[in-house]
């Protein structure tokens, strides 16, 4: 690949200068990085590729079960996450994501089954397993009555980061997350995005080899979102294993080597995002926008076109689901002519990871978003 216009890696894809994804040749997303072996632009990326070549597993989960009385929250799940891999864990609310993370981080003991972190059993060797991980929970669980600096020091002491290293690391992370100037201020004066950034900084203070990120960018402003996404990309490039839970399916699509979709305590699918999309090729779509915008009847009219399985309005566009995009494009052009309007844009789209998610979890689209059937 040396001499090509390789720019950077995005999840299981290698993005070229024109933005088109190069699908991996391996079935395994993590291994795919090693196979293409690009000449990376920096040493960190090289380290990441080298790391993924090892056989070591960062996380190994075997027949993990968690019951609360008669309710089974997690039902016999098994998977592994390779060292250096970015693993997405997706699922609707109540699917068992947080319960799984609580078991993997040793907060909640499993009812049966086992999980290891870098070979350490999370139940029997909890402290050793936790030492190499960083945990960023869904809630920004920072001490609002302490300053940003005091929060960092507390986290460093809990993870026994040495005194000199503590100051250096805290300074570096606070600068990285653009919080250094406010380090002496109590956290209750921070914005939501700043608290989130501090939470992540605290999760990185021990330079973890494995980072659990639970909804890292949920509900944040654009600036915080960008800072956090950049940071995650840097960590991935640096060879840190990332276990990412997110509702933002596009985020998982872009960042993850592989994703697991969990529903009602079961794992419905695990694979690289692109391979998961291939499993539902029937969910292709045509996205179209008309010059005269929308009319109330247009959605129903488009839905009744030949070969259109379903139609959805998305902003100023309509998304038509089909197994035959070519025929639908012809129908749409004919429709435009008949209704004296013009098509200002038309695009064919493959199935998105969200489509896979919807299909596997039994959710259904409602308006522009995804809602649970029940």
């Amino acid at each position: 690949m040396k001499g090509t216009n390789l720019e950077f890696e995005e999840g299981d894809k290698i993005v070229l200068h024109n933005g088109s994804p190069l699908l991996p040749t391996s079935t395994d997303g993590a291994a795919a990085k090693a196979i293409d072996t690009p000449t990376p632009s920096d040493g960190a990326a090289a380290k990441a590729i080298e790391t993924t070549k090892t056989d070591a597993q960062a996380i190994e989960v075997s027949h993990l079960v968690k019951r609360f009385g008669a309710f089974t929250a997690v039902n016999d799940i098994s998977f592994s996450v390779a060292v250096g891999e970015t693993f997405g864990f997706l699922g609707p609310n109540g699917a068992g994501k947080t319960t799984t993370i609580r078991m993997l981080t040793g907060i909640s003991p499993p009812t049966s089954g086992m999980a290891t972190i870098f070979g350490h059993d999370i139940v029997r060797e909890t402290v050793a397993a936790r030492q190499s991980m960083g945990i960023v929970s869904e809630t920004s669980n920072v001490y609002t009555d302490l300053t940003g600096w005091q929060n960092m020091m507390l986290a460093a002491q809990l993870y026994r980061v040495g005194r000199s290293e503590r100051d250096k690391k805290a300074t570096e992370l606070l600068k990285r997350f653009e919080l250094h100037e406010r380090r002496g201020d109590k956290v209750h004066g921070y914005s939501k995005g700043m608290k989130r950034r501090l939470t992540i900084a605290m999760g990185l203070v021990n330079s973890p080899r494995l980072l659990f990120l639970d909804e890292p960018t949920s509900g944040l402003d654009v600036e915080s979102n960008l800072i956090i996404r950049d940071m995650i990309s840097d960590l991935i490039a640096g060879g840190v294993t990332v276990f990412l839970t997110t509702h933002n399916i596009e985020e998982a699509n872009v960042l993850c080597d592989r994703v697991a979709i969990i529903d009602k305590g079961h794992i419905a699918a695990i694979d690289a995002p692109e391979r998961l999309k291939k499993t539902i090729q029937s969910v292709q779509s045509v996205e179209v926008a008309f010059l005269d915008g929308k009319s109330p009847e247009r959605l129903d009219e488009l839905r009744s076109l030949p070969m259109v399985n379903d139609a959805r309005k998305e902003g100023d566009k309509f998304k038509l689901f089909t197994e035959n995009p070519t025929e639908v494009i012809e129908s749409v052009m004919a429709y435009a002519q008949t209704h004296h309007t013009r098509v200002i844009s038309i695009t064919t789209l493959g199935p998105s990871l969200e489509d896979v998610f919807v299909k596997l979890t039994g959710l259904q689209h409602s308006g522009g978003g995804v809602t649970a059937i029940d």
Binding site: A128, S137, T139, Q157, L158, Y159
Partner: protein, 249 residues
């Protein structure tokens, strides 16, 4: 990892937890009311009722001060931290539950020591309270503070996000202890059942040490008092460990 390294790691973490509590919770209204004002009002009530002279009541005041102040931090801090999800941060840290419980108890211990020293010095200056053996007073304050701090941590294991729930439960234990531990009412004057219950109250042994330090009158040998307090501390710590583990789910 060697034992020494492990122990050092645990102590550093416990101290970090305690320091965090000192910075955040010592000036909370619930802590001040429960830990400082209540023992003071109790002392004033007994003084006003002329049950004994203020000087005679000082050992008892120190006893109930350690009881209330040491056990007032965790019932406030732990539920608040559950609500803020910061408690999960402590539960997920690479430390044992022993270190977590010890860290939580340490903040109660330090708070109690601080208040007890203030009371001790104030009594010395204002009331010129005579002292027979200061070493016994120090032992009494130290061990009873740790014991009651661990008791507070134990109750705080109850899985609620409302401090009021835990404070109510702790009070169910704290109030009766005042009356059956020889603090203001001598054990010898209690009915037979009361005297038997007094033996299973940690405050009895704490009060015995402090009384001995002030007026030389003791029911038990000081070693018995210290050993009994150590036994209570260990029992509370073990139960607290069990409860935090059980209620984590």
């Amino acid at each position: 990892m060697g034992f020494q390294d492990r122990l050092s790691r645990e102590l550093v973490a416990a101290w970090a937890i305690a320091k965090k509590d000192v910075l955040i919770y010592y000036l909370r209204p619930g802590v001040i009311v429960g830990g400082v004002l209540f023992p003071l009002f109790m002392f004033l009530a007994f003084t006003a009722g002329k049950l004994a002279t203020p000087v005679a009541l000082v050992p008892g005041l120190i006893g109930i001060t350690t009881l209330f102040s040491a056990s007032s931090i965790e019932p406030v801090s732990v539920p608040i931290e559950r609500r803020m999800a910061t408690f999960d941060r402590l539960l997920a840290a690479p430390i044992s539950l022993n270190a977590l419980v010890l860290g939580e108890s340490l903040s109660g211990l330090l708070y109690s020591l601080l208040i007890a020293v203030v009371v001790f010095v104030a009594a010395l200056i204002i009331l010129m309270t005579p002292i027979t053996n200061i070493f016994l007073i120090v032992l009494g304050i130290l061990f009873s503070s740790l014991c009651f701090a661990t008791l507070g941590t134990l109750f705080a294991a109850y899985p609620t996000e409302n401090p009021g729930d835990i404070i109510s439960m702790v009070n169910v234990i704290r109030f009766p202890l005042i009356f059956i531990s020889g603090v203001f009412i001598p054990i010898a004057t209690l009915p037979a059942v009361g005297q038997m219950i007094a033996y299973i109250s940690p405050l009895t042994y704490a009060n015995d040490l402090i009384q001995g330090g002030y007026n030389g009158k003791m029911t038990f040998h000081p070693i018995v008092d210290v050993l009994m307090l150590i036994v209570f501390i260990l029992i509370f710590q073990l139960i607290a460990n069990y409860l935090y583990k059980r209620f984590n789910d």
